[in-house]
């Protein structure tokens, strides 16, 4: 429930940042589907964590070190909205200037996502496809072609 609220809040932050497409994705995936799947998982397992046997020192050290490294990495990021940032210098001006003529789609996000960066999007779809196949292999029991009751009875 908290993660759903968190997603909804970050979606509104994205709207504030004028990233409507990202906000859309965050609201539908983060607040919608993920919450349902989380609840589904909770229904399968229990909502109580088993109490750990002893204090685990090594994992917490790894987590702290990784977190510190990530925060250290953000120090090098350009300031928000900096026009001189590398990301705003390289291909972005060309997309903004030429995509209307080359692709002719009013939503530049769509033209970048689907046309200029078509390979990346194909990769993303393949990742989702792989996730779906993984779930099918791991979770979906009961083979097709048999009557349901029989498949149910076959299960140990």
């Amino acid at each position: 429930m908290l993660s759903g609220l968190y997603s909804l809040l970050s979606a509104s932050i994205f709207v504030q940042l004028d990233a409507v497409d990202v906000a859309f994705t965050e609201a539908s995936v983060g607040a919608g589907i993920t919450t349902i799947l989380m609840l589904g998982t909770l229904a399968l397992t229990t909502d109580w964590e088993r109490t750990p046997i002893k204090l685990q020192v090594f994992p917490i050290l790894v987590v702290l070190a990784t977190g510190a490294a990530l925060i250290y990495g953000t120090l090098d990021l350009p300031a928000f909205g900096d026009p001189a940032a590398v990301a705003n210098q390289h291909v972005v001006p060309r997309y903004i200037k030429d995509s209307g003529r080359e692709v002719g789609v009013p939503n530049i996000v769509t033209s970048v996502l689907a046309s200029y960066r078509g390979y990346d999007t194909l990769g993303e779809v393949t990742v989702i496809f792989t996730a779906g196949v993984g779930v099918l292999v791991l979770l979906v029991t009961g083979r097709r072609g048999k009557p349901r009751g029989k498949a149910e009875a076959d299960r140990p």
Binding site: L37, G40, V103, G104, V109, A114, L122, G132, L136, V140
Partner: protein, 138 residues
Amino acid sequence: MRHHLVLRVVAKILIPLILLYGLYVQFHGDFGPGGGFQAGVIFAAGIILYGLIFGLDAARKVVPPAIVEMLVAAGVLLFAGVGVAGMLLGGNYLDYGVLVRDPVAGQHLGILLIEFGVGTTVAAVMITIFYGFAGRGR
């Protein structure tokens, strides 16, 4: 959920609107925010809502798992197929400009097709995951 009258009535009103909105986001992604990913998730959310309210068996009857599993692959195939079609017509892989004589119209067609592929796969995978999780607990 046999007795949740309010939920059932509200869901019956909402589900067509959700599905319609999913289609709108799918095919209006060139002009407004949205696209295949969001549309697929919204469409799947409509089906999942149906499954939550009316039971998994009813949802499985409306949207059979066998068809959903086929759609999972069909979306990726459509996306990759548009790329191959561009190659056969003399362009680069995923170059939509050669699909139609006018390059800009070709871009339009290509984007529409691959977004539809994206939406199909995303919706089908979400429904598959839901079926997987929900069918597991019984």
